[in-house]
Structure formats: structure tokens, C-alpha cells
């Protein structure tokens, strides 16, 4: 019984265990529901999944199913980020515990009952539970915003290397707080529209109405919601990764105000899509520039730190270009998290900007479905890049070392980028090949994409299998992690990190 309780404590009360559960849940959902689309349909796998699992799939409900699936995965990703934040941003222990407990119950409820409703017959009790789960995630967000309150004196920075105001307010904490509040407001955008479901609002996918000239306010709200939520998930992860690298110094002092300002501008820009659609994009572009500049500064800092730390390990004070590059690439996990942010610019931001600039000259000349492929490719890639960064970070948290770390890191970087790059080429193929001659391009990009994604999924499966088998060991890694449940990351203000509930109650 004690062993069981210990494992329960690890999985549901420690940061490392909670992240493991959430990643595993996403992996299971992806493994099952990923067989329902794309090449899996062509290979007949979808029919097997449907039969084996007793799914009830009606073609008219496809969009609704997909939206619920996206939401269940998104809730789990948000939960992972919240676990990271509550561990690395100083707050009281009881705050961390209540936030983590609320969001865990929330995302699991939303995931289990949302998918049950969407794919296994429409029992509306389950739909209600899906909404309840999401509401709990939202409530956890309110608790998080409260816990992150940056103006409390106890959270003022002591170390001048971290970005702060004259009064000592920690600007990194302000960035986390701003992102959280922005996310709460943006969630309301989706929730309000959702509340009209069946009462004036009809389910649709954003990419299906891109060429509709007159969109309803509810449609605009949904389009804004889906864009800003993904953006803010990326902002949150960038801030977490920055903390992992102990981002500080002059670049931190420049980057944090940019991140705060960018987050506010882009969020307000997206919110203004409903009343002021024509001008909203200007604000969105401005906000994006600030956020991307901030992330760039973080990458510069991070890579310099990787090189510096590796050279220090080798006992070198200075090194030439080649040695510096070798030092940079020595640890694919640390290099990879930042590299994926850079790579994102080629496959997501770059494509997005090109799309925006050449919209009327190129993309609106194509048939609608061709333009739609570029859009869906673009945001699927962004979501997947976010996932790879989380996986690399979690591999580090798990203490992956030696050759396993190198193989895991490089396979993740090379194969995922091969898949994302190929998908980008596929989605933009009409730029350089006509419909008649496209088949070899389609075949090759599809093969490379499938190969890349399959390789990533296989190493993820191996990684999770290792963690699963470890749970059956009495003295496994899980036990070490249970004794040291928080992320070993330097915080900007260490004052409250050691507090716990018992002490506070006393």
C-alpha cells in the first residue's frame, strides 16, 4: 500500500510526476486519435481503430470532434506549462498545490469526458463534464494569476542581474503574470462563443472560412481565440525555457520589457479583431515583432551560455569558431530547445509573414484548398515544435544523460525538423511545381514527413516506456524524483521556494 501511495504521490503530487502523466496522456491520445486521419486512413488503420474501440463517427460531426480533440490536448499542454511555472516561479507551497491539483483534475476531466462525448456517442452529461473540466483549468489559471502577483514585496528581485523595476518588481514575473492574464481573457473569447453553441453559433474550423468576406463576430472571436491561445502557449514556454537557462544580464533586461509589451500588444490586437478587424493585424504584427525579438535575445544568451559552460567543462577560457560550434552542439537537448525556436522562423513565422505579404499576389490566386493547406500546415508545425521543446526540456528534467541523451536529442531535432521542413515544402509546393507535375514532390515530402514523425513518435514511445517500466521498480528514478520533486532551476527570487503548507498553517 505504501508503495502504491508513494507512486500516487509521485505521479499526482510532484511536479516531475505530474508532467510525466500529462505527457503520457497526450501521447496516448495522439497515438489513438492520430490513426483517424492522414495516411492512416489510406492504410486502413482508421477503420481498425474505429472497430476495435467502438467509436461512433458521423461525417457531419467531424469538425466538432476535431475541435474537442484539439481542446483536450491543449488543456494538457497548458497544464504542463502550469506545472513548470508553479515550480520555477516562487510562490507559496499551498498555492502551488492548489493550482496543480485544480488543473490536473480539470484537464483530465476535460480530456476523458470530452473525447468520450466526441467519439463514443453523444452523452451530453459527458459534454457537461468536458465543460466542467475546462472551467477548472480556467479557475486554476485565476489561482495562478493570483499567485504570480508580481507587485508583492516578497517576490521582488534581490539579484540585480535580473530584469526589474526601480522598486525591485521582477519583470520576468510580470511577463509570466501578463501571459497568464492574457490567456485567461483569451480563453473567455472562446468560451463566450462556445456558450452560443446551438443557439446562434455553428461549429466550424477557422481555416474553412478564410475567404468568407463577412464573418460574424462569433466567428471572428473564435479565429482570434485559436491564434492567441497558441501564441500565448508559445510565450509561456519561451519564458520557462529562459528560466531553465537562468536567463539574466543585459539581454534579460532588454528582453523582458519587450516580452511584456509584445504580449500585451498582440493580445489586445487579437481581441480587437472582433470590433476592428481591418486594423487589428497591424497591432498583431507589432506585438509579434516584440515577442520574437525577446525570444531572439534569449536564444543568443542561451547559446552563448551553452558554449561558455562547455568550454569551462573542458577547461578552456577561449576557443575558435569550430571549437565554439562543437561546444554549442555538444548537448543536443539544450541546443535543441533553442534551435527549435530558431527553426520555427523558417517553417512558421517566415511562412506566415510571406503569406501575409504575398496574400493577394500568390495565395489568393490559388484555389481555396491550396491556401488552406498552407494555413493548417503552418499551425500544426507550430504546435508540434512546441511539443518537441517540451519533450527536450522534460528529457533534461528526467536526468537523461550520456549517449541516450545525445541520441534522443539529435533524433528529435533532425527527424522533427525533417518532417516540419518537408511539410512546409509540401504546403508551399504550388510556388514551384504545377498540379500536373507535383506527384513526385508530394510523394517525397510525404515520405520524409511520415518518416520524421514516425521516428519522433518511436523515440517518444521508447522514452515513455522507460518511464513506465521505471514505475514498477521499487527504487527507480521515480523515487529519486519524488524525494526531489521540483525542477532544479534557479529562480529569480528564492525567498519563498522552500515554504510548505504545514509551516504556513503553523
Amino acid at each position: 500500500m505504501t508503495a502504491f501511495l508513494n507512486k500516487y504521490d509521485f505521479l499526482f503530487r510532484s511536479t516531475k510526476g505530474l508532467v510525466l502523466v500529462a505527457i503520457s496522456m497526450i501521447a496516448i491520445v495522439t497515438a489513438i486519435f492520430g490513426t483517424l486521419s492522414g495516411p492512416m486512413v489510406e492504410w486502413g488503420i482508421r477503420d481498425i481503430t474505429i472497430k476495435l474501440m467502438g467509436m461512433e463517427i458521423h461525417p457531419a460531426q467531424r469538425e466538432g470532434r476535431i475541435i474537442m480533440l484539439y481542446h483536450t490536448i491543449a488543456m494538457a499542454v497548458v497544464a504542463i506549462e502550469v506545472y513548470f511555472i508553479t515550480s520555477i516561479v516562487p510562490m507559496r507551497k499551498h498555492q502551488q498545490q492548489s493550482i496543480n491539483a485544480t488543473i490536473t483534475v480539470g484537464y483530465l476531466t476535460a480530456m476523458i469526458f470530452g473525447l468520450w462525448f466526441a467519439y463514443f456517442g453523444h452523452n451530453f452529461v459527458f459534454h457537461g463534464l468536458f465543460l466542467l473540466g475546462q472551467s477548472l483549468v480556467f479557475f486554476a489559471g485565476i489561482l495562478l494569476a493570483s499567485a504570480l502577483n508580481p507587485w508583492k514585496k516578497e517576490y521582488h528581485v534581490m539579484d540585480n542581474d535580473y530584469s526589474h523595476t526601480k522598486k525591485g518588481v521582477d519583470l520576468e514575473r510580470v511577463a509570466f503574470f501578463t501571459m497568464t492574464v492574457a490567456m485567461l481573457g483569451s480563453a473567455i473569447f472562446g468560451a463566450v462563443t462556445g456558450s452560443y453553441w446551438g443557439n446562434g453559433h455553428e461549429t466550424f474550423l477557422g481555416e474553412d472560412i478564410i475567404r468568407t468576406p463577412h464573418k460574424t463576430p462569433l466567428q471572428l472571436a473564435i479565429i482570434g481565440h485559436l491564434h492567441i491561445m497558441l501564441t500565448l502557449v508559445a510565450v509561456a514556454l519561451a519564458l520557462v525555457i529562459g528560466r531553465w537557462f537562468d536567463f539574466k544580464g543585459i539581454l534579460h533586461k532588454i528582453a523582458m520589457p519587450l516580452m511584456i509589451f509584445g504580449t500585451i500588444v498582440i493580445t489586445l490586437g487579437v481581441w480587437s479583431v472582433v470590433p476592428f478587424e481591418p486594423t487589428a493585424h497591424t497591432f498583431i504584427y507589432v506585438g509579434s515583432v516584440f515577442i520574437m525579438t525577446s525570444a531572439l535575445l534569449m536564444v543568443i544568451y542561451g547559446w552563448r551560455k551553452i558554449i561558455h559552460d562547455r568550454l569551462a567543462e573542458l577547461g578552456l577560457e577561449k576557443a575558435g569558431f569550430i571549437k565554439s560550434i562543437k561546444a554549442l552542439l555538444h548537448d543536443p537537448i539544450k541546443f535543441g530547445t533553442l534551435w527549435q525556436m530558431v527553426f520555427m522562423n523558417f517553417t512558421v513565422s517566415g511562412v506566415g509573414i510571406f503569406l501575409a505579404v504575398k496574400l493577394d499576389k500568390i495565395f489568393r490566386i490559388w484555389p481555396f484548398l491550396e491556401e488552406r493547406i498552407t494555413l493548417t500546415g503552418h499551425w500544426h508545425i507550430l504546435s508540434a515544435i512546441i511539443a518537441t521543446i517540451i519533450l527536450m526540456f522534460y528529457a533534461d528534467i528526467s536526468g537523461m544523460k550520456g549517449k541516450t541523451r545525445k541520441w534522443f536529442g539529435w533524433i528529435l531535432i533532425i527527424c522533427s525538423d525533417l518532417a516540419f521542413g518537408s511539410m512546409t515544402v509540401f504546403s508551399m509546393k504550388r510556388l514551384f511545381v504545377d498540379q500536373y507535375s507535383q506527384q513526385s514532390v508530394v510523394n517525397w515530402t510525404m515520405i520524409l514527413t511520415d518518416f520524421g514523425l514516425a521516428a519522433v513518435l518511436i523515440i517518444l514511445a521508447l522514452f515513455l516506456s522507460w518511464r513506465l517500466f521505471d514505475l514498477f521498480k521499487s527504487e527507480g528514478l521515480w523515487k529519486k524524483e519524488l524525494s526531489n520533486p521540483e525542477l532544479d532551476i534557479k529562480t529569480t527570487s528564492p525567498v519563498l521556494s522552500s515554504y510548505n503548507l504545514e509551516e504556513e498553517i503553523k
Binding site: E42, P59, A60, P278, F368, Y436, Q438, Q439
Partner: protein, 308 residues
């Protein structure tokens, strides 16, 4: 005889026999008679139907007729000959052009102005096209006469309909003809199999023989018949129309305010099954043409009587 040479001879004979059978099959496929006459029309009676994915009850107040199949290469070639002779269209180099009076232009965001003038109907030098122009007349490529015409712009489709006094069906007319009076997702019902229609994953005999995008099937191909070893399901709509899902996108007639796009329905050989659902649509500028884009016509009952 040396044993190695014997083996080589057997291998080469085997390879040749395979190639021969593929060639033979390709020829056979090009001679397929589906038994569906592309010159037939069907009456769609006035009345209600359920429109779109969310099943909005909608009424069409008049009877109309619609073609049972897409317009074929042979029909289109015949029209081109007649229209060129009468001056209804003209040839400019390798391009068929015709006059269009233009659209009302509101200058809306992303709207392109469609001015009055001569617009492209079909470019005969484009790869994949199945109609040839030689010796002053148009001819459908041998073996593809009964396949749907492709590489035709919205202007070209409209011009065909106009020439005969018909029209392109509007979206409501098209949808009712495909769906009948219930809420089915596909013209034949709610179930879906890869032998129901020519789409990206159908692996039909034409796709296997001519490649993914070279594989239009003859109109009415999916009618429950078995061709060689390829068994089709009948994809007839409740009113008896074939290929209302898959094979080629079909231009519809709507001209909507604030956009220059024209709309297509029905999905195609290049799309996945979700785009074969009755409410799925595609759009492009009226001068766009593609390997998977064709059309069929509709007509009012008075025109139908005149036609008969």
C-alpha cells in the same frame, strides 16, 4: 544452354509479360462503358431540403433539371466546335477565350475586379488536358471521351451552359440534387468506402494506371458495376445523379458580392473524403482551371421542354 542465361530469359519474359498486361489493362480501361448516358437530365422537383452541414431547412420554389453526369470531354469538344464556328468563342494562340460582361466591383478587401472582356476558357497547350485542337476542329482525346472535361475555367463552364441556353446550377440547386430530402453526408448515404467515389485514397484502376492526378474516371463509373477486378459501389444521389462526390470539382453558378471567387462543389480525385461531403466547397478565381475541375449544367423546365 547456360543455366544463368536461362534464368535471365525467364526473368525478361516475366517482366515483358507484366508490362504487356499493364498496357493491355490501360487500353481496356480506356474502353470502359459505364452504361450511363451523359446526355440525360433529371428533374428535381420544387420543395424543401436540408442545406449544409447543420441541416438548415431550405425551400427551392421551382422545378429544375440537372445533368445526370458531369459534362464530358466529348460533349465539350462538340460544343467548342459549334461555338467557334458561330463566333461565340475565339481562339487566341492556344487559348480558347470568350466574352464575359464583368462583375459589379465593390473594392472589398482581397476582392479582384472582374472586368468586362475576353477571358480564358481553356488553354489547350496545358499538360493533362484531354481535348486537342487540330486541323481547325476540337477533338476529345481517344479513350477519354466519356471522362469529365477538366482544365476548364468558370468562364468556360458558364459559356458552355450559355451556348445551349442552360446555366450552371447554383449552390442550393446543386446541393438539393446531391442530397435529396434527408440529411445524408454523401450523395449515396452516410457510409463511406474507397470504392464509392474517385478521390485521393480510392486507388481506382485509373489512378493505378495513370497516376494520382491522371485518373479521372469515366462519368458514372461508380455505379455498382465491376470492371475487371475493381468492384464499385453505386454513388447515385437520391435523384439519380452520378459523381456528385469525387472525380472532379464542379463549378456552380453563384456570383457573390464582395468577392471575385467562384465556387466548386463535390470534391475531386485529389481530395480526401471530408471534401466529398455534400456541403464541402472549394473556390478560386473565375479564370482558374485545374486537373480536377469540371462542371455540369442545370436548366429551367421551360428550357428543358424547348430542348426536348
Amino acid at each position: 544452354m547456360n543455366k544463368k542465361i536461362k534464368i535471365y530469359i525467364v526473368m525478361i519474359s516475366f517482366i515483358l509479360s507484366i508490362s504487356n498486361s499493364i498496357l493491355l489493362n490501360a487500353q481496356q480501361y480506356l474502353q470502359i462503358d459505364t452504361g450511363v448516358n451523359p446526355n440525360t437530365w433529371v428533374l428535381i422537383p420544387a420543395g424543401k431540403f436540408y442545406k449544409g452541414q447543420h441541416n438548415h431547412e431550405t425551400i427551392i420554389q421551382y422545378d429544375y433539371e440537372i445533368m445526370v453526369t458531369d459534362v464530358t470531354n466529348e460533349q465539350y469538344a462538340k460544343y467548342l466546335n459549334a461555338a467557334l464556328a458561330s463566333g461565340f468563342i475565339k481562339m487566341v494562340g492556344d487559348t480558347v477565350k470568350g466574352y464575359y460582361p464583368g462583375d459589379k466591383f465593390n473594392g472589398f478587401k482581397h476582392e479582384f475586379e472582374i472586368k468586362a472582356g475576353y477571358w480564358t476558357h481553356m488553354v489547350l497547350s496545358e499538360k493533362g488536358i484531354r481535348i486537342k485542337y487540330a486541323g481547325g476542329s476540337f477533338l476529345a482525346q481517344k479513350g477519354f471521351e466519356s471522362h469529365p472535361v477538366i482544365m476548364v475555367s468558370w468562364f468556360g463552364a458558364k459559356s458552355y451552359a450559355d451556348f445551349y441556353g442552360w446555366r450552371l446550377p447554383n449552390e442550393l440547386e446543386w446541393e438539393k440534387a446531391a442530397r435529396g430530402n434527408d440529411t445524408r453526408a454523401y450523395p449515396w448515404g452516410d457510409d463511406f468506402g474507397n470504392s464509392h467515389a474517385n478521390y485521393y485514397s480510392s486507388y481506382d484502376v485509373f489512378e493505378k494506371t495513370f497516376g494520382k492526378l491522371g485518373g479521372t474516371t469515366p462519368v458514372g463509373f461508380y455505379n455498382g458495376k465491376t470492371y475487371g477486378d475493381f468492384k464499385t459501389n453505386n454513388n447515385k444521389s437520391p435523384y439519380g445523379l452520378y459523381d456528385m462526390a469525387g472525380n472532379v470539382w464542379q463549378w456552380v453558378g453563384n456570383v457573390k458580392p464582395d468577392v471575385h471567387y467562384r465556387y466548386m462543389r463535390g470534391g475531386s480525385l485529389a481530395t480526401y473524403e471530408q471534401h466529398l461531403r455534400i456541403w464541402a466547397e472549394n473556390n478560386a478565381g473565375p479564370d482558374y482551371y485545374g486537373l480536377d475541375v469540371g462542371f455540369r449544367c442545370a436548366r429551367d423546365i421551360s428550357e428543358a421542354i424547348k430542348g426536348k
